[in-house]
């Protein structure tokens, strides 16, 4: 494998695909996409590198923006601040980075590593640590892998710079970095280092390529006026769960998260069948007739039925026509430890994880209701 050029068209697709993988959260990648269009117009280019090309002692910068999506609408994401988060931690640890990778492929953070990479001439590693979007810093493959938090930069556009030098756990990292972020005005860029061996062992691989493929499929379907969700399922091993329209959205902000539930009424083959999906920034558990039929870490993706573009939990509204698909989760989250970080109990649900993709196995709850028939209706 070798470095691959990311084209301007790939980036258009990446923005669409990252938003789908955002599973309702992660922030719309539109502003990140605008940044990348400008950087490419200015002649900058980014290359994609498989994690397998890293030497064990290479250092990789893991980048993300954090904060409130609403603040991001007024203080627009910019490529130089993310770049400074990288250069600050790079000089702090005293090692030049071999490449950059995203903390989460889902939403705007799926595009942001490219923004810093374009300025610094570094390749982007085709891996992330979530395979989607999640609301908290400890919901990563790094945390599941038992990797201790390394020093992290937290940077503001005005030149305010902080380094969270030492914390015992990812939960502590989340608490301290979040406090700094709030003082900055609830938006900040961060970067922390990881060595090549750690990235190879614990990274979730191929996710930038996957997001681009999903985006290509959606955009091609849009051009041909074909079903975009079917196009996604042709490039990603997912399942069609439901088609319907939004009949109610209930939101509440608790402990800094947007929680709530969206209710749907079925159309087409699902006429007369209701569905409800709970969210905590991202879509977490989908219910049919009081039974949980899909749950984190399976990716629950709610798409606009016509355009195939993802529908976010902040912006979903009455009357929208939606298609719900599930995509398989990264393996790292399927272990007992992985499920303890991102399984339904991590979000406060007294549910045993049961994957949409394991419906042939007996139900662990013993209720044994076979949902395979519904899932295969596509």
């Amino acid at each position: 494998m070798a470095l691959r050029d990311i084209t301007a068209d790939d980036i258009e697709s990446l923005a669409v695909g990252a938003w789908v993988l955002g599973t309702g959260g992660g922030g719309n990648p539109y502003l990140s996409l605008l940044n990348m269009r400008q950087l490419y117009r200015d002649g900058r280019r980014v290359q994609l590198m498989p994690a397998s090309d890293l030497a064990d002692d290479d250092t990789v910068g893991v980048v993300a923006s954090m904060g409130a999506p609403l603040v991001g609408l007024e203080r627009l994401t910019d490529s130089l601040t993310i770049t400074r988060a990288v250069t600050l931690i790079q000089s702090h640890v005293g090692r030049r980075f071999a490449g950059l990778m995203g903390m989460e492929i889902g939403g705007g953070n799926g595009v942001r590593p490219l923004m810093a990479a374009a300025h610094l001439g570094l390749p982007v590693i085709d891996s992330d640590t979530m395979g989607r979007a999640y609301p908290e810093a400890q919901m990563t493959s790094e945390a599941v892998g038992g990797l201790r938090p390394s020093a992290a930069s937290v940077v503001d556009v005005r030149g305010l710079e902080s380094i969270v030098e030492k914390v015992p756990t990812w939960k502590w990292m989340e608490r301290i970095a979040r406090k700094i972020c709030v003082e900055y005005g609830s938006v900040a860029s961060t970067c922390h280092p990881r060595n090549g061996a750690e990235v190879k062992k614990w990274g979730i691989h191929g996710t930038t390529t996957k997001a681009i493929a999903i985006g290509h499929a959606v955009r091609a379907a849009q051009r041909r006026h074909e079903d975009p969700s079917a196009a996604i399922l042709s490039v990603a091993a997912g399942k069609l769960l439901y088609r319907g329209k939004v009949i109610d959205v209930e939101r509440r902000a608790t402990e800094g998260f947007l929680r709530g539930r969206a209710r749907f009424e079925g159309v087409d083959d699902w006429r007369g069948a209701a569905m409800e999906i709970d969210f905590q920034n991202e879509w977490i558990v989908a219910w049919r007739d009081g039974e949980a039929i899909a749950m984190s870490p399976d990716l629950i993706c709610v798409l606009d039925s016509v355009s195939g573009e993802a529908v976010g939990t902040e912006t979903i509204r009455y009357g929208q026509r939606i298609t719900v698909i599930a995509l398989p989760p990264p393996d790292v989250f399927l272990s007992d430890k992985g499920l303890s970080f991102v399984g339904p109990r991590a979000f406060g649900y007294d549910l045993d994880f049961r994957s949409v993709f394991a419906s042939s196995q007996p139900s662990p709850t013993g209720r044994g209701k076979d949902t395979a028939g519904q899932e295969n209706r596509a």
């Binding site: 609403l70 007024e74 203080r75 490529s79 800094g256």
Partner: protein
């Protein structure tokens, strides 16, 4: 009250006279190139029976698609100086960064970005760099720019930096048309700024158009204040409308819906407005169109401000019809229907020809469409029904059957029975619903901001007070104000108890 409502559309200029809540007279005239001629013509037809001379007119309310058409057709636009107060944030996404190249090429007169703006909680983000604003204003002057759009981060929450910068610019550039993004509302810097830039670009056209309206009214001998209708179904005095033309972008469609509500007496219903080329479908809530809560593209530019939530499809009285395979629209003969339709001696089969053949319309020469048999007509009507049903279903927000008001010249394409619709209501003067909607418009005030550490009830009450003050300032009679929209949204990731509240109140125009 006696009011004249006028709708200046792309094809027709409609006018109605409303007296004590009743439509006394409704007329149509072709829209003229210069706008004024069409209005004069319509007013002359309205006054033919002498109804305008007998008693005084309390107000003339005009709705128009003139401003939005200018953006879509890239004509009569003024180059704009963009001044953004948000540095050092957002520097990589400057004003015009997501505009279509052709439109940016016409409107972009220059871009200046200086330090300033606020945070979500009202703290200043950076102190306003007044020296840089002054320098920018001098450079604008040197370039001969006369239209300025000023934007600042979180200006809907604190507009002081925008206002301060506007004063500095006004001193340097007396007589310049200055738009502050905070006057246009919503959170979302890029989209709000885009609306401000479009608004500034329409400065000259708005001034000239309002002057033309005033001249037309005066030339027709009517002495009455002129009001311009806005996207939300309310009116502002002509001078204010001239400052904020983007608020009139979608007023034509809104007026049709409001007119439909008024003529039918229904406050909550779907409205289907079938014109010559397109059908607009929207939903009435409390007599007003539901608002779009998301980004609306105008001429390829993403904007976010008060706009009705509408869905348009290419179906109208002038829609092309092909039979094998069956297709209706989206192409249309538009205002050339009376020349190009088969029933009028033309060559293009249209939905109107089908209606004439089926005996639903008495227009043109029925003999010319005699070859269209009943089965063919039924197929075309079934297709139109399918198109309308699908669009109505997409726009509905609740499952149950709702009443539907069919208005517009092409309303014959809406059948009496539709899936998901309790009943189809047709009203007298439905073909002039847009002018009726203009005539009955009210005045509104809006508040959209974030409240911290207030109980939900208190935050909403505070927002209502602010909205009521704004409505009164815009000319509403305080005693008639009522709240027509309340929406609150808790904000994720923000500390404290942050709640974004949006409230809109409306009332009657206060007597002069």
């Amino acid at each position: 009250m006696r009011r004249i409502g006028i709708d200046v559309g792309g094809t027709n200029t409609d006018a109605v006279l409303i007296e004590e809540g009743k439509v006394v007279r409704a007329v149509k005239a072709p829209t003229s190139e210069d706008v004024t001629g069409g209005i004069l013509d319509a007013l002359a037809r309205l006054g033919q029976s002498g109804v305008l001379r007998t008693r005084r007119i309390d107000g003339v309310m005009i709705g128009t698609t003139h401003f939005v058409n200018a953006v879509v057709q890239r004509r009569s636009l003024t180059p704009v100086a963009a001044l953004r107060l948000a540095m050092p944030a957002s520097a990589s996404l400057p004003p015009f960064c997501d505009w279509p190249d052709d439109l940016a090429g016409i409107v972009r007169g220059g871009v200046w970005m200086v330090e300033g703006g606020h945070e979500y909680d009202g703290r200043p983000f950076m102190p306003l760099d007044t020296v840089a604003v002054q320098r920018a204003a001098r450079e604008m002057k040197a370039r001969g720019l006369r239209a300025v759009a000023i934007s600042a981060s979180f200006s809907p929450l604190d507009s002081s930096h925008e206002k301060q910068a506007a004063e500095i610019v006004a001193r340097e550039l007396p007589g310049a048309a200055i738009t502050c993004s905070s006057d246009l509302g919503r959170i979302g810097l890029l989209e709000r700024e885009n609306a401000g830039l479009l608004n500034a670009a329409l400065a000259d056209l708005a001034r000239d158009t309002i002057a033309a309206f005033e001249k037309a009214i005066a030339d027709s001998g009517i002495e009455a204040p002129l009001f311009i209708t806005q996207n939300d179904g309310t009116v502002v005095e002509a001078a204010q409308a001239g400052r904020l033309p983007v608020y009139s972008f979608a007023s034509g469609a809104t007026n049709s819906m409001r007119g439909g509500a008024y003529l039918s007496g229904l406050q909550d219903a779907m409205v289907v407005d079938v014109g010559g080329t397109t059908t607009d479908v929207g939903q009435l809530k409390n007599g007003f169109p539901r608002e779009a809560n998301s980004v609306v593209k105008v001429g390829g530019v993403r904007t976010l401000f008060r706009m009705p939530d509408l869905m348009s499809i290419g179906l109208g009285g002038g829609s092309h019809v092909s039979l094998e395979p069956l297709q209706v629209g989206p192409l249309s003969v538009g205002y050339r229907l009376l020349k190009e339709g088969i029933a009028f001696g033309g060559k293009q089969l249209t939905t109107t020809d089908i209606a004439v053949a089926a005996g639903k319309l008495a227009l043109g020469d029925r003999a010319k469409v005699a070859h269209l048999d009943a089965a063919t007509c039924a197929r075309v009507f079934a297709e139109a029904r399918r198109m309308v049903e699908e669009t109505v279903d997409r726009m509905k927000t609740e499952a149950g059957d709702v009443p539907l008001v069919a208005v517009g010249g092409g309303a014959f394409l809406v059948p009496d029975k539709l899936d998901g619709v309790a009943r189809v209501v047709r009203v007298q003067h439905g073909d002039c619903a847009n002018a009726v909607g203009a005539a009955i418009a009210q005045v509104s005030g809006e508040c959209d901001q974030i409240f911290r550490d207030l109980a939900r009830v208190e935050a909403i009450a505070r927002a209502k007070e602010i909205a009521a003050d704004r409505a009164a300032a815009a000319g509403a009679d305080r005693s008639t104000l009522s709240t027509i929209e309340t929406e609150d949204m808790p904000l994720a990731y923000l500390p404290g108890n942050s709640l974004r509240v949006r409230v809109r109140v409306v009332g009657d125009v206060a007597a002069a």
